[in-house]
């Protein structure tokens, strides 16, 4: 294991709060494999940065341990840990040239000058900033500073690379470019990485695994697919992307074939379920907006010409083509975005149902006020426990 967090907890003094303290991180247990890219994802104040800073050594855990490469480093200061951090503000030393910045860590290690120069040149070439070596930091663009910060961290060949929201100060286009770049560099050097962000698209792009955090706790650990399509709880489902949740009662559970009934008594099927879902209990049926299919109300579902009652599914069709009818309603909002059209449908639920239609040129548009029918495939549905 490259990084192991055992029961990690951090409390801060906060006289405004009950008990005089704020628990920023609670009982976090996590094992990170060698070369793995793990992202801590969550809203601000969820404890992700505190967790990262405890791995780096900038914060001391109140309880728990940090292990790096099989060694308990809980009481080691940051400079004694084999980690390098890339900061949100880049933290480029303003009084040094770019080259001096990148070589600073090697210089501290007392490496010979020639070696430092060679290593610095090499890493700067990999990062595509070789021509900036003699620039002053205030002459760099945000993207360039980001690369310098990354080069400076990597040149030391740390066992663990730590990223604290490194892209949040860049504009959208550069951000997309840099997250691909970060992933490329991490893969090139195979450095175990822990990355903190509140941007779920960023997390999806770079990570092998994502840890979703909320209020100091780990809500779920999993691959981007698992986090998005098989969330363990309502918080994760809500936080990652947009989601529609329909209250149901669970009738039977089995992997690949869960059956539930909705408030009206209609039968609905889902492909998977979270661990907390119990047979006979209340639950939530999750369908992402892009998995909802819109067809005209009262018209047959647009598959094989077979009409259906709400909740009925079309027998005889191939497994992947089976559809369930969720509800009928009226389009209350339609936003045309070019590649997609985003709809809100008023279908008598507490919140409007969200749907996204891709390729509007082919699928056509619905107007506000149109009566529509919403269908889904069981494969795109997932059951969540009803909580809170």
């Amino acid at each position: 294991m490259s990084v192991r967090l055992v029961n990690l907890t951090k409390e801060f003094e906060d006289p405004e709060r009950e008990g005089g303290k704020l628990v920023a991180v609670r009982e976090v247990n996590l094992d990170i494999r060698e070369g793995e890219f793990v992202t801590l994802l969550g809203p601000s104040g969820c404890g992700k940065t505190t967790t990262l800073r405890m791995i780096a050594g900038f914060e001391m855990p109140s309880v728990g341990e940090v292990w790096i490469n099989g060694k308990n480093v809980t009481n080691d200061p940051p400079n004694k840990r084999d980690t390098s951090m890339v900061f949100q503000s880049y933290a480029i030393f303003p009084h040094m040239s770019v080259g001096q910045n990148v070589g600073f860590g090697l210089e501290l290690k007392g490496r010979p000058k020639a070696e430092i120069e060679r290593e610095v040149r090499q890493i700067m070439e990999v990062m595509g900033i070789a021509d900036l070596a003699h620039r002053r930091p205030d002459q760099l663009s945000g993207g360039q500073q980001q690369r310098v910060a990354l080069a400076r961290a990597i040149v030391n060949r740390p066992s663990v690379l730590l990223f604290d929201e490194p892209l949040s100060n860049l504009d959208a286009k550069l951000r997309e470019q840099m997250r691909v770049e970060i992933r490329r560099i991490q893969q090139t050097f195979g450095i175990t990485s822990v990355y903190v962000t509140h941007d779920q698209a960023e997390a999806m792009t770079v990570s092998d695994r994502i840890v979703v955090m909320n209020r100091g706790r780990m809500m779920q650990v999993g691959s981007p697919f698992e986090i998005y399509s098989r969330p363990e709880n309502r918080f994760v489902a809500d936080f990652i992307g947009r989601v529609n949740l329909f209250p149901v009662k669970v009738r039977s559970l089995s992997e690949g074939h869960c059956v539930a009934v909705d408030a009206a008594g209609a039968t609905l099927e889902a492909y998977s379920h979270a661990a907390g879902v119990k047979e006979g209990a209340e639950a939530l049926l999750m369908v992402r907006p892009e998995s909802l299919e819109i067809s005209a109300a009262g018209q047959p579902l647009d598959i094989k010409g077979l009409a259906g009652e709400i909740g009925a599914f079309i027998r005889g069709a191939a497994e992947g083509d089976r559809r369930f009818m969720l509800a009928e309603g009226r389009i209350s909002k339609a936003v045309y975005l070019g590649a997609t059209v985003e709809y809100e449908i008023d279908a008598g639920f507490e919140k409007p149902v969200q749907a996204v239609s891709h390729d509007p040129v082919d699928a056509g548009f619905w107007k506000v006020g149109d009566r529509v029918r919403l269908g889904y495939r069981p494969k795109a549905a997932h059951l969540l426990p009803l909580e809170e």
């Binding site: 003094e13 008990g19 005089g20 303290k21 780096a56 900038f58 001391m60 109140s62 009481n75 080691d76 200061p77 940051p78 400079n79 980690t83 390098s84 951090m85 900061f87 949100q88 503000s89 933290a91 480029i92 030393f93 303003p94 009084h95 600073f104 860590g105 501290l108 290690k109 910060a149 400076r152 961290a153 030391n156 730590l162 604290d164």
Partner: protein, 563 residues
């Protein structure tokens, strides 16, 4: 409560991970307690000593029963109040003329206002005696008045205003410059007359700065020692001088200590009120880059009046330096104004030891104070450790405590074992170092607060320990603050007199103390020669630092020398 201790313990545990840092924290905290707090406690204890080791308020009762000391207390407060009000008024008009009305010769006026700040604080008193004293150039040579009553209220008031209006000027110039002129433009655009705009916009915006300046001048005038020692005379007693005379003249330590406490209490009160005001102002000043205004915010007539005012003040300041310069070269001031180098022969001959001592002491104390200031700023802003508030508070105390009080504190505290330092070089150095760190700390703190802490964390993350982080990253980044601390410490070390006068000895003497002695013995020529040399040395040192900075840190150079 328990969790407070637990958190302090966690802080300590964290600090203990870095033994060098822990050692520095302990050393700084310890030395602040020993060299700032302990002398003050000694003064307090000495004032409560009613004889025979009994503790009580007897000394205070006795002191307050003396009409003379009551008068001194009243005089000190009166003098400080008037000086702070008039000094601030002059400073404000001067600052307004230079910063806002942009009168002709603005740059020149600015220089004139800054010169008194780098001069020994009693140079005004010396010049006033030369101009208006018994053998004064104006009173005797021109007007043929004998025994003009310059000693007492009139002379002292004039000296204090001239000495302290530049402090108000510098403070208020900063305030006026940071004000956005577009606000005044907007007010005029809304139909306000110039006078209305000044009264309803400019003045209210500057008010916190003005109030801060009044309080600051009050504290500084109250603490001042050199001017009253020369000018107050026996009919107009002043507290700081009385405390000194009780100890040096009457050998009455408890009474001297009690008078010091009487001096200390209003100083501390006004100082902390001023701090609170300045800190609050931080949130209410108009920020943003100063924008260019095309509007003339004063009428041509007002501008002319402002110009005239600046000219008169400048003439007065000029007259002071003029008399010092002439006095340094005149044979016998007031009687024989033929030029001579005799006074300089004295200064460079018999009297040169004091010059050398002063340079040695200032030369050693200045870099230590500058460096220590940066270390304390770093600790206070960046490191969490138990006692951080104590370090911050105590290191700032030197700003508030009058030199006389701390001087008496030092002779009380370091007169006996284990720290018997009286008469040594060390006691002067320690006094200067701990008295003159606050400006460095203040500017260091301000600068550090504007620097993202993750820059230092980046260094630590790359493997630097706290010592390397400080020397390779923090210090180079706060160099401007370091230099402004350095300049302040040097100027003060060269021109200090109030605390130092208690601490000098035959082995280690200071130019300032020598000057006071020359004035007292009526040897004005030698005093003027010493003063001139002192101003020249300080001026040369500042120019040198400025030059070095300009060549190596071009764009910072300007910002480094505000003190």
């Amino acid at each position: 409560m328990r969790s407070k201790f637990a958190l302090a313990a966690a802080d300590l545990r964290r600090a203990a991970r870095d033994p060098v840092l822990l050692a520095v924290i302990l050393l700084v905290t310890g030395s602040l307690i020993v060299f700032v707090l302990y002398p003050l406690i000694s003064v307090g204890l000495a004032s409560l000593d009613t004889g025979g080791g009994r503790i009580g308020l007897g000394v205070y009762r006795e002191a307050m029963r003396s009409a003379y000391i009551r008068k001194a207390f009243y005089n000190s407060l009166l003098m400080s109040t008037l000086t702070s009000l008039v000094g601030t008024l002059i400073g404000f008009i001067f600052a307004f003329a230079v910063a806002r009305a942009r009168v002709p010769l603005s740059k020149f006026f600015n220089t004139i206002a800054v010169i008194p700040i780098i001069s020994p604080p009693f140079i005004g008193a010396l010049a006033i005696i030369m101009l208006f004293g018994n053998n004064g150039l104006i009173t005797w040579n021109l007007l043929r008045i004998q025994n003009f009553p310059i000693y007492g209220f009139n002379g002292l008031f004039l000296a204090q205003v001239i000495t302290f209006f530049p402090v108000a000027y510098l403070t208020l110039k900063g305030v006026l410059e940071s004000m956005n002129p577009v606000l005044e433009d907007a007010a005029m655009d809304l139909g306000g007359t110039r006078w209305k705009v000044f009264r309803k916009v400019t003045l209210p915006l500057a008010f916190p700065g003005i109030a801060g300046s009044v309080l600051l001048l009050f504290v500084e005038t109250l603490a001042d020692f050199g001017n009253p020692l020369i000018l107050a005379g026996s009919k107009f007693p002043i507290l700081s001088v009385q405390a000194y005379l009780q100890i040096v003249g009457m050998y009455d330590l408890p009474k001297g200590a009690a008078i010091s406490v009487l001096l200390l209490v209003p100083s501390l009160i006004f100082f902390y009120v001023q701090r609170a005001l300045v800190n609050r102002r931080k949130y209410t000043t108009v920020t943003g880059k100063p924008q260019q205004s095309t509007t003339q915010i004063v009428s041509p007539g007002a501008r002319a009046a402002l110009f005239l005012f600046c000219l008169v003040v400048t003439l007065l300041v000029g007259l002071i330096y003029f008399s010092i310069i002439i006095g340094a070269f005149a044979k016998v001031w007031g009687f024989d104004h033929r030029l001579t180098l005799n006074h300089f022969k004295f200064v460079f001959g018999v009297g040169f030891k004091a010059v050398r001592d002063t340079l040695v002491i200032a030369g050693i104390a200045t870099p230590i104070a500058g460096f220590l200031g940066m270390v304390i700023a770093f600790l206070v802003v960046r490191v969490r450790f138990p006692g951080r508030k104590l370090v911050e508070g105590v290191s700032m105390l030197s700003f508030a405590v009058p030199g006389t009080v701390i001087g008496i504190g030092y002779i009380l505290a370091f007169n006996h074992k284990p720290l018997a330092l009286t008469g040594t070089l060390a006691i002067l150095l320690l006094n200067f170092v701990f008295r003159y760190i606050p400006v460095g700390i203040e500017s260091g703190k301000a600068l550090l607060a504007s620097i993202d802490p993750s820059i230092e964390e980046a260094a630590v993350s790359l493997g630097a320990d706290s010592r390397k982080t400080f020397s390779k990253v923090t210090l180079p980044m706060i160099l401007p603050a370091f230099f402004s601390g350095l300049v302040f410490a040097f100027v003060r070390a060269m021109t200090a007199v109030s605390a130092a006068i208690f601490l000098v000895s035959s082995r280690w003497n200071l130019m300032t103390v020598h000057i006071m002695a020359q004035v007292e013995s009526g040897n004005l020529g030698a005093a003027a020669a010493y003063s001139l040399l002192l101003v020249l040395i300080v001026g040369a040192a500042i120019s040198l630092i400025r030059l070095v900075l300009k060549s190596s840190y071009g764009k910072y150079a300007g910002s480094m020398l505000h003190f």
